[in-house]
Symmetry: D3
Subunit: 141 residues, 6 copies
């Protein structure tokens, strides 16, 4: 079992705001992240697969395929976009690093044939969230 | 003469769009950076002063003062903001890294009593603009 | 279950020296790290919590709270300090990265209401220790 | 139980090519990595041990010993070398990051007296493989 | 006058060897860099242009054009190649960071219409060469 | 003319305190950097030489020589030391980044035969001083 990680970057805007909270609560929880016109980040996405290398190729998975799947399922949708308005499959998702990591996992998992181990999302050089599929859905039943 | 640099980060959204260009030209020039809802970056700002250290303190300038001036004149205005809509002194400025570096210089220069040497602005880990005051105004009269 | 990490830096001096060893042994074990006047590092502390995001906020924990707790319980005590002399709760602790990671965990754990998952401490760009609470006390019973 | 990591870098050339594949397959799988004269990387190797710190020294393991073992068993063999031709114990190993991580584990493990926890190998700033000994041999018997 | 920099990475093998030196001299000068089968690096290339931003676009130069020119004139030739054997325009050039920086400048300069200011080449995280066209040819007349 | 840079790191303690100031002034100027027992940093030193590459070797200067000179004249004296007490040639120097950059230049310059161009000293990831010999002595009156 080897863990293979590929790192990609993308740039996006977002605004933290919850429909479950009133305006005062939103500003109390999200502070400057609730700025109406949004702000943005250079996100760093690390996708990790886990498996045994194929003895014929020495690869757990071809990095070219990891790139293709990650781009088609996530990066092409979010890069140079506003995460609150431009991404259909993020509708209703509060775009914290935590929720984005879960949402990206759910987009990526079906493409990786059981090999996906972890999705890590760096929002800044100081904040990061990671998800390993240990919870199934976004809206905690 | 010693060069002293202080690095700060801020997160902001922007959209590249020029009123001097029509829509087709805007998309041709700015491509995905012209996305109507904007996108964003973790900007890294490096401010450099140049001078002789004061023999009584060993400092060209107190880093605490550099921080205070940089925050009051730039960071507090742009951090967690949308650069096209939220910053009065950026009105009419196309927010490329180049134009932001010039605009930040013009904001910072009066605060640094002749010591300001360079303003560097990293937009991503791959793109950076630097300005040393070698041109006086934004609109090249 | 999402893992949320916040990175902080602090600068401190330390000297590696053990009261369980004689002088020759100390220099044999710690070499230049035993320099009597000490040396120092820009430490990087990564604190990770693990939990389910609150569906009302999209957060495992508010990063503002993580910052406040980390600062109050660790950073404010160790930043710009000599770890051998200036920190009451490090008395008797040999300030290796390993022991500091454990000591920081013990300081932080009561503040995080069961969410603390890992404390990582980078001493230099090449050395790092991590602790997940898998051992209860500093002085191996 | 504390995890202690030491980071080392080395520079090496390699070519990805499999004797289990014909020429067309090799180029399909490895693309530009199959360039006959090879290419190269600044590899970053992170070796992690896990254990309880010795209460007399505060160390899981002396970093000096970690350095010596890592250099003697891996770095001195691979640094400034061509991994396909110059390293006897890599003969027959397709030098992907995955296979190198396994091969390095197998070289390092006997030197670390049961403490070795993980070998991570960064091939570029975007690609990384990690191995924790969860599989015994290279050829999956 | 604004300085605009774009960073690109590429991976290549090289061997340091001079036809002006005999074998003993080559090993004395280049030591392990003279390994016959070569070694390699993840090079980081920083290309800087200098000019006044166009007031219609806010750009010194479109980063898309900088990317295209840099790729066509340098990166596509050297990425995943052996610099001693695979690049026609490096024939006879000893591939030190210094000589590569000069050679890359000479390749890039005609494409940048007088705007090229500097070519920086990082060979490792510790070694870097920069050239600003202050000398015309490779073979010092 | 090519600029060749070599990066080295060292770890040291220091205390900012000036004999030209009284106690209240010292704390006003240096704040927490005046902590009596000192604090410390992982310093990053970048030494840059400038010259024409020797056509026989392709080198401005052999990096091995740059390393040897830098270690013998600076690093071996300051690494794992307290800069206020352990370094004879820093006696009387207030160890700010600015003064250290000047002091290191003066130590290094005689070893580099006219090639030394710049000494850069990073104190933290956010603070940096650079000196190019544009002022002759520390007290230059």
């Amino acid at each position: 079992m080897v863990y293979l990680t590929r790192r990609t970057t993308f740039s996006a805007a977002h605004r933290l705001w919850s429909n479950h909270l009133n305006e005062a609560e939103n500003y109390a929880v999200y502070d400057k992240c609730a700025n109406p016109n949004g702000h943005g980040h250079n996100y760093v996405l690390e996708v990790t697969v886990r498996g045994a290398p194929d003895p014929r190729t020495g690869m757990v998975m071809n990095l070219t395929d990891m790139k293709k799947i990650t781009n088609e399922r996530v990066i092409d949708w979010v890069d140079h976009k506003h995460l609150n308005y431009d991404v259909s499959w993020l509708e209703g998702v509060i775009p914290t690093a935590e929720m984005l990591a879960i949402a990206f996992w759910e987009r990526l998992e079906p493409g990786f044939q059981g090999l996906l181990y972890e999705v890590k999302l760096h929002e800044t050089e100081n904040n990061m969230a990671a998800y390993r599929g240990e919870r199934q859905s976004l809206e905690g039943e």
